[in-house]
Point group: C2
DNA sequence: ACACCGGCTATACGTCGGTATAGTCTGCTC
DNA sequence: GAGCAGACTATACCGACGTATAGCCGGTGT
């Protein structure tokens, strides 16, 4: 469960970084304070600066650590996309931080990677499709990635709707079943979609 | 285009509120400052306090105004859900503010309303479905609402992937086509979904 | 003409948070 | 054991921001 706490990682530096991940995940970057992070890590605010230079640099170190960890998880999990295209389950303790990074807009590298993965995956899935889609794969993957990340980013709100914590077993079960249902029952019939597309085409040249 | 600028709305109070909507939408609540809002509105910081009492109260006034405007739009747009279940197009100038409200977690009332709407809509769509879904409608609606809001909340990232501004004509076209495609082509076949569901069932009782 | 009131401004206060700096302590090397 | 390096702390500085207060100014009713 505990995503591999990196041996030789009990150093103050690592403690500070972990505290920052937690604090920023909980309060967001703006509201997270160096003093608060230092307190959680059990060190002085000065030491934070000593090790990382500035608040911004500390965040970048967190980003880097997150990216590295994710790559490790991604490799050891194999290539197959998780059931229902659900990244919530995987992220574990980093979920909140990731959500902040996404919604506060500094997680572009991560998102780009998700788009890349999604693009490859869609290319595979598109093989047995009669007519090709009329949007470029990149756009489709980007929108799909955003949708896949929605429960992560809006966890607070989704939890309200589900009536269960998104990290709890019950919440995960509900979320997965909902995703399965949604992704296997299209909201629009091919005819409806074609009609809407035609309407768009009609508007486009004008 | 300009969502009805409310007659008798050239008052300083209204200008402040609009400036706040813009500033908070652009920078988020934390980073938005009373001074900046006042400057944009062309008044003194003191007047902001005079009219609204506090920063928090100002935000609540914005929320209220947004809710009211949305209700008006929703009524005059009729009941039918917008094509592809896409709230981006409708929100216009409030889009950024709404995105902030959602991702910074103070937009519960709005989200709840979306869930309610989605629930009604799903109930309708479920009529011609052989077997009933195995998740409660509320959860399904909540997850669906979150997914529908994803392009709004993660607009910055989606724009990267699309290579077009989400408010531009080109971006809207791309987004709509992507949504049409996604919502009319399920990611999972019924068999795959059933298999995954069975796996969940197996894990549940244990 | 005068008082009053609400919209509005100028200015000041207290706090908080990032940053800077000087200094202490611990462990290692020669 | 002297001296150095680096981890670590205490303290101060400075700007920014929310908030508070006192007062101005123009219009309105009597």
């Amino acid at each position: 469960m505990t995503t591999a706490p990196d041996p030789a990682d009990l150093t103050a530096r690592a403690r500070i970084r972990d505290a920052a991940l937690r604090h920023i995940g909980e309060h967001g970057y703006e509201r997270a304070t160096i003093r608060g992070i230092a307190e959680t890590a059990g060190v002085s605010p000065g030491l934070v600066r000593h090790h990382f230079g500035s608040k911004q640099a500390l965040r970048e170190a967190c980003d880097e650590h997150l990216m590295k960890t994710m790559h490790r998880l991604h490799e050891q999990a194999g290539q197959q996309p998780p059931v229902g295209f659900n990244p919530v389950a995987v992220m574990g303790p980093y979920r909140r931080y990731l959500a902040r990074a996404l919604s506060e807009g500094w997680a572009s590298p991560f998102f780009d990677e998700m788009v890349r993965i999604g693009e490859r995956w869609l290319a595979e899935a598109d093989k047995d499709r009669p007519e090709p889609p009329d949007v470029d794969p990149r756009t489709r993957a980007a929108v799909l990635a955003a949708m896949a990340l929605a429960p992560t980013v809006l966890s607070q709100l989704v939890e309200r709707g589900m009536g269960a914590g998104i990290d709890s077993a019950e919440g995960q079960d509900k979320l997965l079943r909902a995703l399965l249902d949604i992704h296997s029952h299209p909201l629009l019939t091919p005819e409806e979609a074609a009609r809407a597309r035609a309407a768009l085409d009609r508007g486009r040249p004008g």
